[in-house]
Amino acid sequence: MESNTQRSGEPAEQSQDTGLSGAKDPELAKLSRAQLLELNQKFLEETGLETRERALISQRLPMTVLRGEYDGAPTFVRRIDWLESKGYKTVRRSRGDGDCFYRCTSIAFAYVEKVLNAPDVALAVASALSTLEATLPLLKAAGFEPMVYEDFYEVFRSVIEQIVTPDAATGERLTPDILLEAFQEPQASNSIVVYLRLLTSAQIRAAEDDYSAFLFHPDTGEPMGVREFCESFVEAIGREADHVQITALARALKVNVRIAYLDGRGSGDAVEFVEFQNRIDGLESDSSGSNAVVLLYRPGHYDILET
């Protein structure tokens, strides 16, 4: 944790990973970046996010649960209310283990759930499977040995396939409960996380020119080479994802991602969204007219927002 002598208004050294430097809200501006992080950290500790006991992905929880965690921080409470007024009625929390982005986004949980709830399930599944299959050559081109990714790919593929084709062992199709169970089970959940990390890395390596200008060491801010960045901050388990990784994974999976930043940026009661737009077929739109996977970001952590 940073020293808490840093005053508000001073440029934060690593503004890109917290987005706190631009806080204009008077109430939040009174808090230093260190205090904001501390507030979040305290919340994470109180709610047990820092322990290994929390489920990898939770049941849907009403927004009041989230609200209750920000007792004494009216700006945050107002922003949570604003999210709710925009139709986001529930949140699914993920364990704060550095893998939460991969676990909840894109395909991992929220995406599979989107496919599961698509108006034309068969089309959505076929489309997801074909997108997924098309990622294999990308991994190969990045130099990964099939031995490294095949089993993880298979875990992911079979979860999506199970939406329409009953599992050979259990004879059951994927239901929301089975999906949640699968993602709460560390082996399956972590296998999918690993596949998405490898895919993200392969996407960055394949389109090096698109990404190389944006690769910085998250702690020192020094520019990094593609290979070094991918090995240290994409492939390695437990390393949190930032914009570069999110952009790359959203592209590789052809998925739209919207992230609500509840981190003190911006002003007023509105929550700032960042969009990662890609084409996607056959998925339902939510009340905001978007078919994106929606995540809630708080410094150092991603959860899923649902309508």
């Binding site: 082996q187 972590n190 390695a236």
Partner: protein, 171 residues
């Protein structure tokens, strides 16, 4: 699900073993494989001391122990008998960043140092250990006395390593 987890670990270990036996290691620096056909989760590695180091001429035996969720989690590596080296604990356990996940950081490795991910393999780890034999990492020492000796009196460190090599060879 535990059953399927060790099934996938087993598949991966058999693939790695097959590749090692078919391809061999660069310059025959090491061999590695399961101690017994009935247990693929415990391997033995024989590592030649790298040339132009005090370890030259020695053959070092290490036991590799794989978890049931390998390669999601890394394996453990222990020299048996233990060897004298700044990054090897007195009991023989090897302390190297590549065998640790980013969250698991017993010795405060530099942030940029290589960590475990399923992309790593037995071969890559052993090659890292061989280069560690040649160039100890004093920033993340495991055997503090040995780190000190290496820093303060390198000739004496080298003499003791050579003596250990001779002793292990029964000379």
């Amino acid at each position: 699900m535990n059953k399927s987890s060790s099934a996938s670990a087993l598949r991966r270990l058999m693939t790695e073993y097959k590749q090692l036996t078919e391809g061999g290691s660069p310059d025959d620096m090491f061999t590695a494989g399961p101690i017994s056909e009935s247990d693929f989760f415990t391997w033995e590695a024989l590592i030649s001391g790298p040339k132009d180091t005090p370890f030259e001429g020695g053959i070092f035996v290490a036991k590799l122990t794989f978890p049931s969720d390998y390669p999601l989690s890394p394996f453990k590596m222990k020299f048996e008998p233990p060897i004298l080296h700044p990054n090897v604990y007195a009991d023989g356990n090897v302390c190297i960043s590549i065998l640790h996940t980013p969250g698991d950081d017993p010795t405060h490795y530099e942030a940029a140092s290589e960590r475990w991910s399923p992309v790593q393999s037995v071969e890559k780890v052993i090659l890292s250990v061989i280069s560690m034999l040649a160039e100890p990492n004093l920033e993340s020492g495991a055997n503090i006395d040995c780190c000190k000796l290496y820093r303060d009196n390198k000739p004496e460190y080298e003499r003791r390593v050579r003596a250990m090599v001779r002793e292990q060879l029964g000379l």
